[in-house]
Symmetry: D2
Amino acid sequence: MIVMRKGVTEDQINAVVKKLKGIGVTPHISVGKYKTVIGAIGDIETIANVAWETYSGVEAVVPILKPYKLVSLDFKDEPTVISVSEFMLGPSCFGIIAGPCSVESEDQIKKTAASIKKSGAKAIRGGAFKPRTSPYAFQGLGEEGLKMLKEAGESEGLPVVTEILDIRDIELVAQYADILQIGARNMQNYFLLSELGRQKKPVLLKRGFSATVEEFLMAAEYILKEGNRNVILCERGIRTFENSTRNTLDISSIPVIKKLSHLPIIVDPSHASGRRDLVLPLARAAVAAGADGVMVEVHPNPQEAFSDGQQSIDLQEFDGLVSELKVIAGMLGREI
Amino acid sequence: MIVMRKGVTEDQINAVVKKLKGIGVTPHISVGKYKTVIGAIGDIETIANVAWETYSGVEAVVPILKPYKLVSLDFKDEPTVISVSEFMLGPSCFGIIAGPCSVESEDQIKKTAASIKKSGAKAIRGGAFKPRTSPYAFQGLGEEGLKMLKEAGESEGLPVVTEILDIRDIELVAQYADILQIGARNMQNYFLLSELGRQKKPVLLKRGFSATVEEFLMAAEYILKEGNRNVILCERGIRTFENSTRNTLDISSIPVIKKLSHLPIIVDPSHASGRRDLVLPLARAAVAAGADGVMVEVHPNPQEAFSDGQQSIDLQEFDGLVSELKVIAGMLGREI
Amino acid sequence: MIVMRKGVTEDQINAVVKKLKGIGVTPHISVGKYKTVIGAIGDIETIANVAWETYSGVEAVVPILKPYKLVSLDFKDEPTVISVSEFMLGPSCFGIIAGPCSVESEDQIKKTAASIKKSGAKAIRGGAFKPRTSPYAFQGLGEEGLKMLKEAGESEGLPVVTEILDIRDIELVAQYADILQIGARNMQNYFLLSELGRQKKPVLLKRGFSATVEEFLMAAEYILKEGNRNVILCERGIRTFENSTRNTLDISSIPVIKKLSHLPIIVDPSHASGRRDLVLPLARAAVAAGADGVMVEVHPNPQEAFSDGQQSIDLQEFDGLVSELKVIAGMLGREI
Amino acid sequence: MIVMRKGVTEDQINAVVKKLKGIGVTPHISVGKYKTVIGAIGDIETIANVAWETYSGVEAVVPILKPYKLVSLDFKDEPTVISVSEFMLGPSCFGIIAGPCSVESEDQIKKTAASIKKSGAKAIRGGAFKPRTSPYAFQGLGEEGLKMLKEAGESEGLPVVTEILDIRDIELVAQYADILQIGARNMQNYFLLSELGRQKKPVLLKRGFSATVEEFLMAAEYILKEGNRNVILCERGIRTFENSTRNTLDISSIPVIKKLSHLPIIVDPSHASGRRDLVLPLARAAVAAGADGVMVEVHPNPQEAFSDGQQSIDLQEFDGLVSELKVIAGMLGREI
């Protein structure tokens, strides 16, 4: 919809109409008491590529169609189910991913794997390459860490989720991981998105902490467009003025995305809050809001964690968390 | 804590120390490798009233103590229970307030009262004076509306919650209402806060949509300071960049406030989202996160509502909502 | 514009069309490849009062017309000039208001008045009733302060600007002040706005720290609607995630508002930044961006100020500031 | 500073003290009336790597030292001057970079280069690889575009600025460009930052649209840490709730960064506003606030631009802009 200014001239309207016709779009003109509006119903990309605001007489351009396609419920109206061995996300199953922020040692990761498996986790997470705000902070064990993680996962039958930071590492990481994670800081790293769209493993895409829901879905569109339809969305908090939590968990994004997309969406209450004492209530809220799963930071000894200790729960707390989530998930017809 | 710049001189430190002593505060000086820090442990107001940043050599002032007192768990470590006839908010009871945005007619409000009572609501809300962004929008029925609301409430045994907009109306509104609401736009209207602190009816204080948790608690402090300890906090969404919902429900604020204050906190999922289809999932999330209650906009016929129709659920939807909340509240040891 | 969902039925379209006709609006239907859009060109308030989102088949409602009228350039295309004795704001004159945050003593305010007058200020500001986040902080001298302020202003020929906090104080304050200020926290206190619209003195309206430009103009509309056309808008920073300044000066709002409204707009660099060292560069930026004036906190001795000392400049700094602003204002064809 | 909760026990304090000593840090304990505070003055990284919040009795951790080093004025107190042939940024020279969003054709870029050179630009910008929110939008001409850009720059003696999106393209892009740009979406792409720190060409680092000033400086630290000290910071707007502009230009960040860092900082008014009509007033504000330069999108025919046409000014408007900036820069002792 192209809204023209009050007092727009015939010539100004004609210039817009001519351009629309030139790009193969049929214009519909509505003359109101105050404003004239030109409807341009046609291919959204063709229309969006023109700088309408630079035409004189144009006041505003209001897009009506959503800019994404493949991720949309309009395109596919059945929920996408993600399934990797026992790990499953979908309308009837609620999936729990757990593990430490960073893989630190064989002992740490094995102990974690055994315990979370028993509690009810269906996949294990752990970082081998860590994005840190400070160049002086611990950056992860690299390939060594990936090996430990894979071994721990295999011995318990838990698929492995880990983050890819550098586009040059895709092959390396894919040797060890079952689900490839794109972190919040890389949500708009379009080359990385496209490359992961060209391989077959499921991708766990975290929402950028200042991305709108629409931009989040557009980022997923980059992956689907290249052929990979197995994308898990992950809400992990957005940046706001509130400073009692590291980020603000946008709990509404869960039901909002359910109305727009067929992709499953999970919640990361650990990064959203940055506070160990909030992980349990926020995980409960996530299930209650309709999320398909959660991803939780768990560490055998949070006090000694190399990173994110302040937001990690311990193995026993995790066990209690799973029990509580089961009740709410059950009420909503989902199994853990 | 007063942090001094690198290269601070003796004289600059002495000026700060002298001023601290002048206002009756004992300074503690820590000289570090890079910075010198002066600890000023004493009465927070006395210290905060000085413009330390204007002293040369001062880099930053970092407050350590919380600025509120009476609302704090440090002051009173048992949860405050609010109780008005059958309506109760506290650790073992979850309270539901429901009703239309505006009182529109006797028929509308009576029908609503009868139905929500049967479903399980414990108090009725309705607006008689409406704050509207546009001066041209419907502004409420005024005293006429208050009368209808009170009658409808009384006939069903439901206490009445309504908003006060104008400080000059307190006496008038208090004749009809059992709980007096301060809206989000008035959260920092300090004269209104203080006046309501001087009367005895419970006050429902909504969080300003751009207030931090700390500012929210400070606003409650204004009420408690004047003597009224019966304050209900209400989270109703904060303003962020995300535009798929009217505001962003800050679900984390529930457990955060539980760690800081003894006051009960409820959630308004209708104003938080501005979307009828999100009211149910967000209400569930609120219970799951540990809220003490919810306040929901309900209308017999949302399509014909004079205001906020797009975020009101109908009577049947409300009935379903209460049933679902009961299960989650029950799991957390609360009765509805 | 009412956008219908994909797969909308004839009946759903007809229900919307019928309602539109029922409220006297002519609908225009455009059927596109993917979506059907119903244009509703008519009286904006009548249309906005219906909850279209509750009609089945409706996906979104997109307003095309601006919701304000009297403040709009569409209504009056010549800039409004505010003039109170020597103080003038308009296309050819740049106005400077200066003074302390709070009136503290006769000596303080007289000294300030004499000095800023000499430097080039055209009006004096000072607070007698102070809105403070903490109920324990200094709340102003009240009427005593108003008297001192008026005397100081009169002796130097400077009109007086001061804030009204309590609607019950309008008459009192109007006895002493020439321009009545509505603070940021009260920008949506609609009763206060309307009352000030019914008296004749110019109103200085500060932007709420989380108000959009549109909401800011809507607040001004409340004043104009009651008859008072002399409103000065004041940008004073908005709340964002950035924490190196108290608020984030939205410098773009100056040219944005110039495109939308005929009302003059000034900038308050002191409250926007909360930092004395930023007042000068931000004041320069304000003039350069096209503001009609600035309001600056000035104190003879910022270290001893009762409030806002950390953001007040001293008398000498103010003198330097005026000299610099003169050069930039001159380049843009404005006189100070 | 580690703040302990009210009622903390000796044992809890001792556990923290023991851990501090264990990592080689000397603790200073201050016992106040309400709270006990433990000062930990030592190496910031060592201290920050411990999850203090997980120790029982700890209420909050308040960092006192800034987390960056090499970018800090504490490390180097003279402004860094960037100089590439005639292009220079520093305390006495104000630099202007101009050019189209995307390189579209030889004709377009040559025409632009010739015209902006005459007007007073000192470097030319243009995109060959474009990051687009939509995978369906124009993505740039790639190497072909780089060649055209380099030729156009060389023929006019203008150094070339262009963005690197993919870490694998560094060598390719470095063949053609004189200054390598890191876009806002990649500000926390740490591998890309580090790689550009290992080569010698100056880097133009754009602020992420939701990065704090501190995070912005930390990103620059990643580059400096690897050896490259020639970094130009670029403010280009942050994401806020305000929607009348694409982003909100954080004009205060200019003087704030000048107080913290020796690196030069420029402003991009085109991306900050997303509106052609705001480019001139915001560019003026940038100079007035103390920026070291501006980067402006200029296109011979904005109506036909492949991307960002709505925010590009034309060649004549650019000529006027340079004239106005010269006056303000001159007043502040800078030459263009």
